[in-house]
């Protein structure tokens, strides 16, 4: 006998689970269907198959420029956030210092700040010290909000690594930097990669903070947001949406697959 679930209970929960998954994926499927629909407005009845919308967005220069901007911002953000995240995580995991709890709380506090408030604060800061808004200001904001995610990924990994490996390196005469480069970094590399990916995807998709400090050249989410207000562009935007959603779902699936393969290969894998 199963102590957690009766047979009927398990069956009911399985149905419930399927319903929830259907609810989560139905909107995505509906977008997929209408991205091929040959009509200016997404509405029933369906009126024939077309690839027109995909073609439209591929030749839309504004949209491509926005995608490019977001990619640049996301790349700069993830590098900055990972560098700062590694520094902070090593300090949190390896060093002992006074006020550590307070430091940790400050480092993680961007997790809970409402983005609307943070966006406005940045706007006021740049306004007060006279920096023009633009891509660099977005990167600055995005590094702040992605930093805690990198720390949350890196610290547990650092804590799993035996600190005596690093001590051994010191004993053998290696300096701080050398030890970090040849011992610590290779060992935390998987976590560094996932921190990088999390920062990249968060930044790429971030609208709220960016909307306050982006200036005049829109990033991809900001372009999307304004396109949502003009129905004439809707079918194109739906086509973009499908591409982005499918690509990100594939990325998630392949990251998981890659992790499973890596887990089988390295003995350290099972501690993830």
């Amino acid at each position: 006998m199963d102590v957690a679930l009766s047979k009927n209970g398990a069956r009911a929960l399985r149905v419930f689970f399927a319903l929830i998954v259907a609810f989560l994926y139905a909107p995505i499927v509906i977008l997929l269907v209408f991205s091929f629909n040959d009509s200016d407005i997404p509405a029933f009845p369906l009126s024939g198959f077309t690839l027109r919308w995909y073609h439209d967005f591929l030749v839309n220069a504004d949209l491509r420029a926005a995608l490019q901007r977001s990619a640049v911002i996301a790349a700069a953000t993830s590098v900055g956030a990972v560098v700062l995240g590694v520094l902070a995580s090593v300090a949190l995991a390896r060093r002992r210092f006074r006020g550590k709890a307070a430091v940790a709380a400050l480092l993680l506090s961007p997790l809970v700040i409402p983005y609307v408030v943070f966006g406005i604060s940045l706007l006021l800061l740049f306004h007060t010290i006279g920096i023009a808004n633009g891509l660099p200001t977005v990167v600055i904001g995005h590094i702040v909000i992605t930093l805690p995610y990198t720390i949350l990924v890196l610290v547990p990994r650092l804590e799993q690594i035996d600190a005596s490996l690093e001590e051994a390196a010191y004993d053998l005469g290696a300096g701080r930097l050398r030890t970090f480069r040849s011992i610590t970094l290779p060992l935390i590399l998987p976590a560094v990669v996932s921190a990088f990916l999390i920062a990249f995807t968060t930044s790429f998709d971030e609208y709220a903070v960016a909307s306050f400090v982006v200036g005049t050249s829109p990033t991809f989410p900001i372009y999307l947001y304004s396109a949502l207000r003009f129905p004439s562009q809707l079918p194109q935007v739906i086509a973009v949406a499908v591409v982005v959603l499918v690509v990100s779902l594939l990325l998630v699936a392949s990251a998981e697959l890659g992790r499973r393969i890596a887990e089988r290969r390295t003995p350290l894998g099972d501690v993830f």
Partner: protein, 274 residues
């Protein structure tokens, strides 16, 4: 260095907001100095407070509703003994890892008065085209539905983690001692998974409380939230940075209090799991 970064670009900006809220800085040049008049006018003005409570109410509905929906899902994954639980968990969470705006877009397409649901109803003859279901989009309902849709996969995660770490031997012992499954659930499973439930609730309630993107896209007038008010006070129309700063600081204050109250339930590792 990370601290310096946060000091300059996180703490300092908030301090500047505080300065604006006390009129130490102002948008327009002119005589100014430290004053609490901005705060007083907000407290006296019931419009803002009422809007705040409305947002609290909406966020509460969203968070409670989806925690209730996510619990059975997480329970199924963690305790039914299915072998594919991690793949199913990934299936559940994957939508959360895709674009936020695009998932809002999907609902805009579905709910509009000329949208998928309505035209489907016209097409099948259930409703006449002159009489679309207009409450679907630009309403409080739409905001709650879309926010729930967006956060549902995410809340399942901490609940799943806490249920997964549950020691099944406790349930076996209870069963040996003659407790029914329902009784074991109330006496063992639920209390032990409570930290996960509370964490899930917190991580939805806090961001939805300050939400402004979803309400501005699908909320219309009746779905207008506190976050929208803050944005509008800094907007192009009639900027009032002093009042806006007061509202923003107030929201931070609320979030800080909530974080302190909930902090004993929050284990950062649970977030890291995603």
């Amino acid at each position: 260095m990370p601290l310096a970064w946060l000091g300059v670009f996180f703490v300092a900006p908030i301090a500047i907001v505080a300065a604006y809220s006390f009129d130490v800085f102002t948008l327009f040049p002119g005589p100014h100095g430290f004053t609490i008049s901005g705060w007083r006018s907000v407290v006296d003005n019931h419009v803002y407070l009422r809007l705040f409570w409305k947002s609290v109410e909406m966020s509460l509905i969203v968070s409670v509703l989806i925690v209730l929906l996510a619990y059975p899902v997480a329970y199924y994954l963690a305790l039914s003994g299915t072998k594919r639980k991690y793949i199913l968990l990934l299936l559940l969470i994957a939508p959360f890892l895709t674009s936020y705006l695009l998932r809002v877009l999907a609902w805009k397409v579905i709910l509009g008065s000329q949208g998928v649901v309505n035209t489907f109803l016209f097409w099948t003859g259930i409703r006449s085209p002159d009489d679309p279901v207009t409450q679907l989009l630009y309403s409080r309902f739409a905001v709650i539905l879309v926010l729930g849709y967006i956060w549902l996969p995410f809340v399942a995660l901490p609940i799943f983690v806490s249920l997964e770490s549950l020691d099944r031997r406790l349930l076996e012992a209870a069963s040996d001692l003659g407790a029914s499954r329902l009784r074991s659930f109330w006496a063992i499973t639920l209390p032990l998974s409570l930290p996960g439930v509370v964490a899930a609730f917190f991580f939805v309630f806090v961001p939805t409380l300050g939400e402004f993107v979803t309400p501005s896209l699908v909320g219309g007038a009746s779905g207008y939230m506190y976050g929208n008010q803050i944005v509008d006070l800094f907007g192009a129309g009639f900027p009032d940075w002093e009042t806006g700063s007061v509202l923003a600081l107030f929201l931070i204050g609320v979030v800080v209090v909530l974080t302190v109250v909930f902090s004993r339930f929050l284990q950062p590792q649970q977030v890291a799991a995603d």
